[in-house]
Symmetry: C2
Amino acid sequence: MNTVNLKQLAKELNLSVSTVSRALRDSWEISTPTKQRVFDLAKKMNFQPNPYASSLRKHRSRTIAVVIPEVANNFFALAIKGIETIAREKGYHVLIYLTNEDGSEEMSVAANLQSGRVDGVILSLSGETKDARHLVELQQRNIPLVFFDRVCDSIEAPKVMTNDYESGFVATEHLIKAGCHRIAHLTISMSLSISHKRMKGYTDGLLRYDQPFEENMIVRCEGNDEENYKKIRDLLASDQRPDGIFASVEKLAVQVYHACRELGLEIPRDVKVIGFSNLVTASLLSPALTTIAQPAYDMGKEAATILFRRLEKKYILKPDDRVILPARLEVRSSTL
Amino acid sequence: MNTVNLKQLAKELNLSVSTVSRALRDSWEISTPTKQRVFDLAKKMNFQPNPYASSLRKHRSRTIAVVIPEVANNFFALAIKGIETIAREKGYHVLIYLTNEDGSEEMSVAANLQSGRVDGVILSLSGETKDARHLVELQQRNIPLVFFDRVCDSIEAPKVMTNDYESGFVATEHLIKAGCHRIAHLTISMSLSISHKRMKGYTDGLLRYDQPFEENMIVRCEGNDEENYKKIRDLLASDQRPDGIFASVEKLAVQVYHACRELGLEIPRDVKVIGFSNLVTASLLSPALTTIAQPAYDMGKEAATILFRRLEKKYILKPDDRVILPARLEVRSSTL
DNA sequence: AAGGGTTACTACAACGTTTTCGTAGAAAAA
DNA sequence: TTTTTCTACGAAAACGTTGTAGTAACCCTT
């Protein structure tokens, strides 16, 4: 373990511990020559202040938590990168917690974070989260919370999100204009507000273009991957097969491709496909996938920036402030 | 901030702080009824012990660091997932640091970790890392280090890796058997031992099958994405165009696809492609990409398991122990 | 020369745990 | 009965840092 501490430096320099501490923090109370002596010895002995002692004393850990459903996913991976970039700039450390889309894991993480381990939390809800008491409790402990993407409407906290409703609308509109008459919507957990918004965009899109809404064109993919795949395949194999599919998340779009392959359906001839996705390989798929791409990296940066503004009490924005970063429609051959 | 502490519990219960502390840790020195009283009140008041006080006192933080070049990449994302899974089981917290393939960022991260902030480190080298003094210093501070994938041969530490040499050989062999006569190898930073091993596999593969080795078939993609892309395109546009390409990392394989598209080359007719990759969409690309897939998730789990064994002093394995998890060749149409 | 102000430091308490050492009282052994 | 051994708890000292409250020594006033 690290063993060189203030006391040792102080003894070596014939100074008091407090003087050394202040010298290292470049306090004006310490004379320049003394500071220099302290700096030099600290460097020579490779002194690293004990962060835990400091955190204990100052009630600040310079650490934040990022709580997300999964990481093996371009969206969340890029968001993490954005968050880490800003955190690094600010001298903060980033703890990562994966909930695996499991509400109870999210709760236990949140409970754990009440210990004061972190100064703030950036979170994207798990698909299973039903109530948000565990997050309210975090707020009650004065631990600032910032949501991104999968936000929680019932909690007052800054939120970084995309224009989900508009994107859902645009995706649907795009399919309709491409000639689709029966458009299916694959959605994940309906307890998430992004799901509602994307779905509302979908239904309003149908309405706007006088397309019928059919209940069986909504496929709720809330289970595990195999179950979801089965549902999708069943949809595509039914005699009520849709001629357009709007997947609300990346992995569902990928499963549509697999199902079409298995069933011998040709995209876009038999069925056109559009999906929310940050796949770097979208343009290389066969056929290239039309996507609604979210600015994941920027969303991460923005969420982190907002959190640090709160932590540094720079300016307190309204607690329910939301930042909307628009997603981009990228038309490719899967909807031609 | 968190405000309920041992002292308050103690006062409320008419016990001493030490008794409460011990009761919560279920010490045999405390009577069952007393323990029960303590447990009940702790639960009622939602007591969470201050982790920093605890870490300071115990010289253990129950926190590890994961230092990787990037996260927006299926391999590293899956590895993180594996690490986080094991860490969660063991009650550890995971700090994440991205070096962005930058050697100096890796150094500054390592320097920072000398503070004793973490009990151990899991690291995959940045492509730019030239010397490893910063890592040696970590070890000297008694902070256990475990490498995965991009290991550092010159440091004695457990290493979790794939069979890079064999995989390089197999990839080359596969291309040769598919009828390639001029095989290019796209490699990343040659300061990484995995690059050497994969390359050695490549050259030995050529040798074994009496294929000529041509220096200009080695493309070192050590710069930024645009430069790398240019090199790849130049290679494919040259009159010495290869008929097979072995990409040592995922992103280079993707760039080959883009370059082929730009140049109007058809895979696999004009050029066959194989690449190290964990792309979930490999089979959906046009054409489907033949890959060498590393068991990223398991590598992460294994690295974490080894680290925790060291931390818990379960059994000290030889310091230079290596675990080799074999990669899998998945033949798809890009090499047919 | 006495008072006031500044400069450059030091002593000490505090942060919330854990741990070492100690001990009152009860039970067991003599 | 006295002595020893348990049982169940408490007091206090760490861990390494930071903040508060001091204070010698010096310079500047008047």
